[in-house]
């Protein structure tokens, strides 16, 4: 089990605001006040030699072309990349590993990482030069994913927080304000449908996946004060549990035909594009950065009309961090560490180049406190959404592993397969939410045998 410190909201909004000034003052010499000139670990060339390096990642725009070029320009070593889709990445990585191929650096979602570690794919990073400095700069979310059994196993790729979206034009048409309670949400949607404002007011990101459909249920359950497993690993799905009641409410939105029927197929990006078509009032909780599609005039007819909002009640939500790691199938650990830093740490000039670019180009959050405190976030996110609002929600986020700590167990995957199946069956009224939860409880024992 990974070490799981307190929630990642220990870095408060006020702390962030206070730190902006300090971060600006430190800008010339680096966020921690140290000079990142030559002589620091990220600026020194390893003694050993390599002809080339490679990484295996999932696709995200052209970020990898840019960073590979920078690495080659800085160190004169060409970098090969193998890039697949997000859902295909674990398969691609594992088949390459099984096929005895060389892999220097790869990446992982928080859901797959414990499995990759237990299968021996990731190398501990503690002994590498500069590793402890990185760890000191990690956000709590990054620590909870990247530190496993007390060892540093990865560097952060990006962090995200789960938010709701709404279409301001349709809201105006429906003469309603963003909902404050889940009951109010149902009322608003029924009214919008009845008034002909939109046929299917809610779009859920409820496609099959490790994060999509399960994450939506995790988020709404957590927001209502529930979890899926307690600290001791006992399930919290029994009769009367918050997870079960949340599922009942969720299924009701389908029964009332308030839900876009494609919801059960939507992944994050596809749903952001579809929401941009302007046919739905609300888009259910999911990664904050979908705004960079839904509010991009080149990709969305609704650009500028898609707003972000927090969750009802105390606004608590979930968040997570994806990581890069040094693969045990590397050709050269020293150089792989160097490449890993380009992807998930500092480049030769001492800058968090990749993290900064991801914030500016793709609206992603960072697993480094110094990046999150910098103007890169507040300025970089502005074209697509309200950074202040999102950072406010950020403060109320807890790492998803706190809500569903089975992600640290090897049986989490087959159980998530069952969760995807049973919940979709409940949402399409093939079984009741009670049957769904009972089946999932029974499935825990079944999958634990594996």
């Amino acid at each position: 089990m990974a070490q799981r410190p307190a929630g990642w909201n220990t870095l408060g909004r006020r702390d962030l605001l206070k730190s902006f000034g300090a971060a600006a003052a430190l800008g010339a010499v680096g966020a921690s006040g140290r000079s990142w000139a030559a002589g620091n670990p990220w600026a020194d060339a390893p003694v050993s030699k390599v002809d080339r390096l490679n990484f295996v990642v999932w696709t995200y725009g052209d970020i990898y072309t840019k960073i590979s070029k920078k690495f080659t320009d800085d160190w004169g070593i060409p970098v090969d990349s193998t890039i697949s889709s997000f859902n295909d990445h674990p398969t691609k990585l594992m088949t390459m590993f099984a096929g005895n191929e060389t892999i220097d650096v790869s990446q992982s979602s928080p859901f797959s990482f414990p499995n990759f570690i237990s299968q021996g794919l990731a190398e501990p990073l503690d002994g590498f030069p500069g590793a402890q400095d990185y760890l000191k700069d990690f956000t709590e979310s990054a620590k909870q994913v990247a530190v496993y059994d007390g060892k540093l196993m990865g560097l952060p790729y990006f962090s995200t927080v789960w938010v709701w979206n709404y279409n301001s034009e349709l809201m105006e048409k429906a003469k309603i304000q963003p909902f404050k309670t889940y009951d109010e949400l149902l009322e608003q949607c029924r009214k919008a449908k009845k008034d002909g404002v939109c046929e299917y007011p809610i779009m859920w990101v409820a496609g099959v996946g490790l994060e999509q459909l399960p994450g939506t249920w995790y988020q709404m359950t957590w927001n209502r004060g529930g979890v899926f497993f307690d600290k001791a690993g006992n399930h919290q799905l029994g009769p009367g549990s918050i997870a079960r009641e949340t599922l009942k409410w969720w299924a009701q939105t389908f029964a009332d035909q308030l839900v876009d029927p494609d919801s059960l197929k939507y992944q994050f990006t596809a749903s952001a594009k579809a929401f941009g078509a302007g046919k739905n009032l609300y888009r259910g909780p999911n990664h904050h950065y979908g705004l960079n599609i839904a509010n991009d005039p080149a990709q969305s007819p609704s650009a500028g009309k898609v707003q972000v909002m927090g969750s009802p009640g105390d606004g608590r939500t979930i968040g997570d961090t994806h990581v890069y790691f040094l693969c045990s199938a590397t050709r050269n650990k020293e150089w792989a560490w160097k490449l890993l830093q380009y992807l998930g740490g500092r480049t030769k000039d001492g800058q968090y180049t990749q993290a900064n670019n991801l914030a500016r180009d793709a609206m992603l959050g960072s697993g480094f406190q110094s990046v999150m405190k910098s103007s890169v976030i507040t300025d970089g996110w502005k074209p697509w959404g309200d950074p202040g609002k999102i950072l406010e929600i950020w403060d109320k986020a807890t790492y998803v592993g706190e809500i569903c700590n089975s992600i640290y167990k090897p049986w989490h995957f087959p159980w998530t397969d069952r969760l995807n199946i049973e919940v979709q069956k409940a949402l399409t009224a093939q079984i009741t939410p009670d049957q769904c939860c009972d089946n999932l409880i029974a499935a825990i024992k079944e999958v634990q045998k594996t």
Binding site: P90, V208, L264, K265, F413, P414, I421, E422, T428, Q430
Partner: protein, 293 residues
């Protein structure tokens, strides 16, 4: 060199090639199915022997049994529709009086040239509830008033999934039936006509009996291929909604190539599938050839 020795020598390259590309993976998968092995263990080459445990596990896994049931439904539906359509379309394009027959023959082959995964993606777009062409066309023609959630209904999803599959594989069956029709002696039909047999009687008592051997071939081939349907599932439904389109090949894939990458279980499930297909092929051939004899 004797004729026999020459024959053996000439066959050696083929035998070696087949042994490498077919026999080795088949026997290696069998070996894996008796071991506890995750994908990463293949690199290390260390995995314990577990006997029939993997087989016992999948045969008691409700999801595998459901996937088998879905596979049977998918296969029965798609193969039946395919044979009926193949015979009907082959009879039409064989009609020499219809001048468009030659163009049709070429057009019919087009779907067969589409790679399976591309076919799946095309139909995923066609089926889309919000933006699909199928709903748009039907709506424009006034045939529907509300868009249809083609693959979103768990009761019909498996049949909707069969449509793209049939669209892709039908040309193969048409070609076989068409070739069989071309090989039939026209005098048989002339004699039947002289004896007063109408078109339906000629089809039932002359054409259909002569087509039986080729129908057996189509049944065996299409059944074995339909049992391994995968690409359309991957591209269109991913097994959903719920478990409505979990088929056997999807089960094997998910167990082997999705976390926790249990390739021992995946291999065992693939073997169970292969045994079922083999048994069905034997039953088909015996039953239908007995009737022919």
């Amino acid at each position: 060199m004797s004729v026999g020795a020459l024959g053996v020598t000439m066959n050696v390259p083929t035998l070696v090639t087949l042994a490498l590309v077919l026999a080795y993976p088949i026997f290696y998968a069998a070996y894996l199915s008796f071991h506890k092995v995750a994908l990463a263990d293949l690199r290390r080459g260390i995995f314990p022997f577990v006997g029939l445990d993997n087989y016992a596990r999948i045969l008691t896994d409700p999801l595998f049994l459901l996937a088998l049931k879905n596979t049977l439904v998918f296969t029965a539906f798609s193969v039946t529709v395919e044979i009926v359509l193949a015979v009907a379309i082959a009879l039409l394009v064989a009609e020499t009086h219809v001048w468009t027959g030659r163009i049709t023959k070429v057009l019919i082959l087009l779907p067969y040239a589409v790679p399976p995964i591309a076919n799946g993606l095309i139909w995923a777009f066609l089926y889309s509830f919000d933006f699909g062409f199928l709903n748009r066309i039907l709506f424009t023609l006034g045939l529907i008033r509300e868009p249809i959630n083609w693959v979103g209904d768990p009761n019909t999803a498996i049949f909707m999934l069969a449509v793209p599959y049939i669209w892709r594989t039908l040309p193969f069956a048409i070609l076989l039936v068409h070739a069989a029709l071309q090989g039939m002696n026209p005098e048989l039909f002339e004699a039947a006509a002289i004896d007063g047999a109408g078109p339906l009687h000629r089809f039932r008592h002359v054409t259909l009996p002569l087509l039986r051997p080729v129908i057996v071939v189509i049944l065996v081939l299409r059944t074995s291929f339909a049992f391994t349907v995968f690409e359309e599932v991957l591209a269109i439904t991913q097994g959903g909604p719920g478990d409505a389109t979990w088929v056997a090949a999807w089960y094997s894939y998910k167990r082997s190539f999705a976390p926790p990458f249990d390739i021992g279980i995946g291999s065992a499930s693939a073997y169970v599938l292969a045994l079922i297909v083999g048994a069905l092929a034997i039953v088909y051939v015996k039953a239908i050839y007995r009737r022919i004899e």
